[in-house]
Amino acid sequence: SEMTSQRRRREEEEVRAEMSESGAQLFARLEARRCLKDIEPRLFPGDGGPQHGEVVELYGSEGTGKTELLYHLLCRCVLPNAAGGLEADVVFVDTDYSLDMLRLVSIMESRLNSWMRENNEEACRSCLSRLLVVHCSSSSQLLLTLHFLENSFSSRPGLALLLIDSISAFYWPDRCEGGANLAKQEEKLSKCSELLGRLLRDYRITVFATCHAIRRSYSGPSSSSFSDPDRPYLCRAWQRLVIHRLLCSRQEAGNNMAATAGRRQVLTVHCTSSSSSGTKAHRSSSFYVTDGGVEFT
């Protein structure tokens, strides 16, 4: 039995050596991932932008351009340097089947077109190969998928950006499953947030996530003032992760829908960035959506 325990210990040491990081993996983890501070300076206050390991939340109701902004950021990352891109790899976590690949590719093609006239298809394909898409249908699956993605992060040092559209997709099913217990309702998203926090610290990626507004914000004095429609409603663990919050809204054009038909709808983004010292910086920007994607005014 002395021999078997010795043998067992040696076996475990071997396995542990296998399991622990190889030199290459360690390098991949610690090597500075592409910092995405310059991903879109027009959105962030000062010379700010998301640093390594920071989370940006895009909050707004339907039609305020959140998904279009994600396409804009995605293209900015995967395009080659010469075309104005960052040549960084991106993971897109799609929780409500909102990723419209045809729309994404048409934006990509129009951006590539302004750079090179021919051989667009080849360039497009190589840009698309920098994108990994994964679809989750429940918060449990999101948790498992984030664990699974850890392998991708450690084996691809070029992966700098994680996009989640949207983080609020499972809010109502989770709330219902949790019954009357608030802690149970928020448990799954809290676990995902905690895991995400660890991945951010370990792999220094940047995260942009959209969050759908659950209350329509009505203009006018008759609106209910006691429930602020833009108040964050997701769990605490998620709120703690968010460093930059982008509030997306439509510029009110009056109640007469006919007046704005044909004219481009202007969308505004208000950014609130919290720093480690507790101070907040603000910045407002506006854009409209064209065939070629987001265009800032």
């Binding site: 475990e12 409500d96 664990h147 044909g262």
Partner: protein
């Protein structure tokens, strides 16, 4: 949440499952999130074995990442655009209903949502020779009306019957039957409904708000959760089976007052359809079939563009088609000279 059961993967036997349960590890998520070394010690199994089990379970239950290039290739080859049969509506929708997406048609009572759905179903089954699933939650669908529309398309009785056979109708009136029906379709029903050589290309739910709206409001969360479930299964069905989902919704008076109504089911539903069209009556008493459709959400066309069309389009007979248009334009000319 997936419960750990013995036999789920090699190495996960009953003894280990019991040991894990004693260590408060009951689900796959619990196992994957725990510290392997500590757990191996507590359950007295080898670290290597537990690590291998974790790897297999993760591969089995996590979603698998796909390269963007592969996804795009697949989409190009599998996406189809179904014409609605009405050129004005097609123009609004950028050629028609796209498979893999949910398109919503909203409008007040009498705005013609169901008529448009009948017309679309008839066009797809007769012209495009594909199968259609029609889920009727309002009781508004009658075979007689479908036959009437088909008789305007063709006078051949056999073709009419063939087209009718391609439309499979489900009549249900509550959300649980709807979920049952949709899950059943996903789990093999769509393949079974593919008769006569075609495959199911469209699933029409008229109307989705009739079964969900009564559940919303108040303090219960169940309504919102059921709505999310319906949305989830419709999207999964559209994507996985390459069908175009067309749903109808009613309208409520919008908070700002004035003007037309806004689609019902609230902010949570507004994110779900990829394209949304608002249908309104034309307002011209001489042309009672006239409707105007406004695009209120789209990722392909500019918002708030309008198209006008006549509901009678789907019932016009082929021979009269040209004649009716000429008569209409002639009538307009006469009116102009009158004034």
């Amino acid at each position: 949440m997936v419960l750990l059961r013995d036999g789920m993967c090699p190495g996960l036997d009953e003894g280990l499952v019991r040991g894990l349960r004693a260590a408060d590890i009951k689900t796959v998520e619990d196992l994957v999130s725990s510290d392997m070394e500590e757990l191996a010690q507590r359950c007295s199994v080898s670290y290597k074995a537990l690590f291998a089990i974790r790897r297999v379970l993760l591969a089995q239950h996590a979603a698998f990442p796909v390269s963007g290039a592969d996804l795009y290739e697949e989409l190009l080859s599998s996406t189809a655009i179904l014409s609605t049969g009405n050129p004005s509506l097609d123009k609004l929708l950028d050629s028609g209903l796209y498979t893999g997406e949910i398109t919503e048609l909203s409008g007040g009572p009498g705005s013609g949502k169901s008529q448009v759905c009948f017309g679309v179903a008839v066009h797809i089954s007769h012209q495009l020779k594909q199968n259609v699933i029609y889920v009727d939650t309002t009781g508004g669908l009658t075979a007689g009306r479908l036959l009437q529309m088909l008789q305007a398309e063709t006078s051949n009785a056999e073709e009419q019957m063939e087209a009718l056979q391609r439309i499979r109708v489900f009549r249900l009136f509550d959300v649980f039957s709807l979920l049952d029906c949709l899950y059943g379709l996903c789990g093999g029903g769509l393949q079974r409904a593919s008769v006569g050589g075609g495959s199911v290309k469209a699933v029409i739910v008229d109307s989705v708000s009739a079964v969900i709206a009564p559940l919303l409001g108040g303090k219960q969360n169940e309504g919102m959760s059921l709505m999310s479930q319906v949305a989830g299964v419709l999207k999964t069905m559209a994507k996985d089976f390459n069908v175009a989902a067309l749903v109808t919704n009613h309208v409520t008076r919008s908070g700002g007052g004035g003007g037309g109504g806004a689609p019902a089911l609230g902010a949570a539903w507004s994110h779900i359809p990829r394209t949304r069209v608002l249908l309104e009556k034309g307002g011209d008493v001489r042309r009672p079939g006239l409707r105007s459709a406004t695009l209120i959400k789209s990722s392909r066309r500019p918002l708030l563009i309008k198209e006008e069309f006549d509901l009678k389009w789907w019932s016009r007979s082929k021979e009269e088609g040209g004649g009716a248009a000429a008569a209409a334009s002639g009538k307009r000319k006469r009116d102009e000279t009158d004034s």
